[in-house]
């Protein structure tokens, strides 16, 4: 989808705040959110592509104003409800109770659980697949198709319609565009290198290049 998350090449965001806090998680709830992500992936409730798509589906203004882990906790809560694991009314009531300071987190240990979830996470990230001969080879010139899928895609908007050269073929991998919507499909994945003029025209810094990993269905043979 052409969402606001697809920021590559956009102007106007301003300076980068490079201040280092030294903490992996700035607040405890951020670590809790990461654990909820592990629970979702590890239990097979949702996959990595559905998770990314859930973040992309946030309204643009919310995406840009929410903190990083706030985007996560929104996306994760929505998926647990959509996949039928949690009830939205129960979630809302419990949230209201925490906001009012009237709830505490239940304590329960389960020494087996982490191992089970970790195995599920490995499976969730496993995207290697088999398939036929890749259509393109190293050195081939390719053009990124001007496709604008309404759902999830890992094709950044700034490379669309641009031509580049295949740096390497990565073998077959799960196609995120399908997996995010419940369909299992693998395709060859390529690393494609683009010249700066092709992407940025006359504003390009000539001594730069951008390489992007792109699935086969994003590409067609170059015309130029």
């Amino acid at each position: 989808m052409d969402g606001v998350h697809d920021v590559g090449g956009m102007d106007g965001f301003g300076p980068v705040d490079t201040a280092e806090t030294g903490d992996t998680f700035h607040e405890e709830w951020e670590g809790v959110t990461y654990a909820a992500f592990v629970a979702g992936l590890g239990s097979g409730t949702f996959g990595i592509d559905a998770f990314r798509h859930s973040i992309e589906r946030l309204p643009p203004a919310d995406y840009l104003t929410a903190s990083y882990y706030d985007r996560w906790v929104r996306a994760i809560a929505r998926l647990f409800v959509e996949r039928g694991v949690l009830d939205s009314t129960a979630l809302r009531q419990r949230t209201a109770a925490f906001a009012a300071g009237e709830a505490t987190v239940p304590e329960r240990d389960d020494p087996e659980l982490l191992g089970e979830l970790a195995a599920g996470v490995v499976e969730a990230y496993d995207s290697d697949g088999d398939g036929g001969e890749p259509r393109f080879a190293e050195g081939d010139r390719v053009a990124v198709r001007n496709h604008n899928p309404a759902g999830h895609t890992r094709c950044p908007g700034y490379v669309r319609r641009a031509e580049g050269v295949v740096r390497t073929c990565r073998g077959h991998h799960t196609l995120p565009d399908a997996a995010a919507h419940g369909e299992e499909r693998t395709e060859p994945l390529y690393n494609v290198r683009f010249d700066p003029e092709e992407l940025w025209g006359e504003r390009a810094d000539r001594a730069t290049a951008v390489s992007v990993d792109l699935w086969e269905s994003y590409l067609s043979p170059a015309q130029r």
């Binding site: 929410a66 209201a96 239940p106 496993d126």
Partner: protein, 334 residues
């Protein structure tokens, strides 16, 4: 698929902490989370997985050429063969190597893909639209203005926009002057930022802040460690470099210098001070010629004249009674 009715209103009504705690509580009640699991996940990312793993990989590549070749050819396989705890089951990592003319930079424009198996979770700035938007379009300006890394215009920047499957990490160049460092000492020098590509370790120092303060201290270090002048020509070479770099980034000269000193130090030298200033002089020569401040042939001719004794420097010295042989002198060189 059950639609989450009123989802947006829900997320806007409550702060993220209340939403995260509610989620945690309900998942614990559903058996999908537990107290110990939450603690262990947090501890894993806060204490176990971090840039130290990547630093060990880089230090090994600096000290073991065959490992370096394997790492660049197939990063995941090389990591599996190494005695580091890298989660290669969930992630394929490709290391991309910097050299004198090439600099690599890693970004994820669509979200926050990051080689966490070797670097831990990404720093906050890596995940911001500010960094993600500019890294692909204007990496040189981004590095100069936001990370105080001023790369010369002829250093090609290769940006890797990780879209999901492959995670990229940068193999920085080994800092100059570290020839006698052990692998363990080298590990200490590798900053997280150098493996993302926003730091270049050119001065051979790095620190817990990702190396940026160290970058600023590089000139000071160089000055402190610089041998005292043993011969007048050494002082002149030094002064010339300082004067000529007034309007150009000092780093460009310094990079030349460190590469020349390095080249020279491959063979043991009985006189390290002289070797240092020989490097300084060669860097200076290359700098003025490549920067088109002087013509290479004219410099070579002049060197020959001095060597043959046909010329002395008196002509260039203000108030020198032996000077003014060819009219140069008084109103010169300020």
């Amino acid at each position: 698929m059950t639609e989450f009715e009123g989802f947006e209103a829900y997320t806007r009504e409550y702060d993220p902490e209340a939403r995260a705690r509610a989620l945690q509580s309900l998942l614990i009640e559903e058996g999908l989370l537990s107290t110990d699991t939450v603690d262990e996940v947090i501890a894993t990312y806060e204490e176990e997985i971090g840039p130290l793993t990547g630093a060990r990989v880089v230090a090994r590549a600096w000290t073991d050429e065959s490992f370096r070749e394997r790492l660049l050819a197939d990063g995941t396989a090389a990591l599996e063969a190494m005695d580091v705890d890298v989660d290669t089951e969930t992630m394929e990592v490709e290391f991309v190597a910097n050299d004198e003319d090439t600099h690599n930079l890693v970004v994820c424009t669509l979200c926050s893909c990051y080689p966490w198996a070797v670097l831990g979770l990404p720093p906050t700035w890596y995940k911001t639209p500010e960094y993600r938007s500019r890294a692909v379009r204007d990496p040189r300006g981004l590095l100069r203005e936001e990370f105080e890394l001023d790369l010369a215009g002829d250093v090609e920047i290769q940006v890797f926009d990780s879209t999901s499957e492959l995670r990229y990490a940068v193999l920085p160049q080994r800092p100059p002057g570290t020839g006698d460092h052990s692998e363990a000492e080298l590990v200490e020098l590798v900053s997280r930022d150098s493996m993302i590509g926003v730091d270049r370790l050119a001065g051979g120092t790095a620190a817990a802040d990702g190396g940026r303060a160290a970058e600023r201290d590089r000139l000071a270090d160089l000055e402190r460690d610089r041998p005292a002048f043993e011969a007048p020509w050494q002082a002149r070479a030094f002064a010339l470099a300082v004067a000529l770099t007034e309007d150009t980034p000092w780093e460009r000269f310094q990079r030349r210098l460190v590469s020349e000193v390095d080249d020279d130090s491959t063979a043991p030298d009985p006189d390290p001070e002289a070797a240092y200033y020989r490097g300084w002089l060669r860097a200076l020569e290359r700098f003025v010629i490549e920067g088109e401040l002087l013509d290479g042939a004219a410099v070579a001719d002049r060197v020959a004249e001095f060597q043959a004794g046909d010329r002395t420097a008196h002509e260039f010295v203000d108030g020198d009674p032996h000077g003014h042989a060819d009219g140069h002198g008084h109103d010169h060189a300020h």
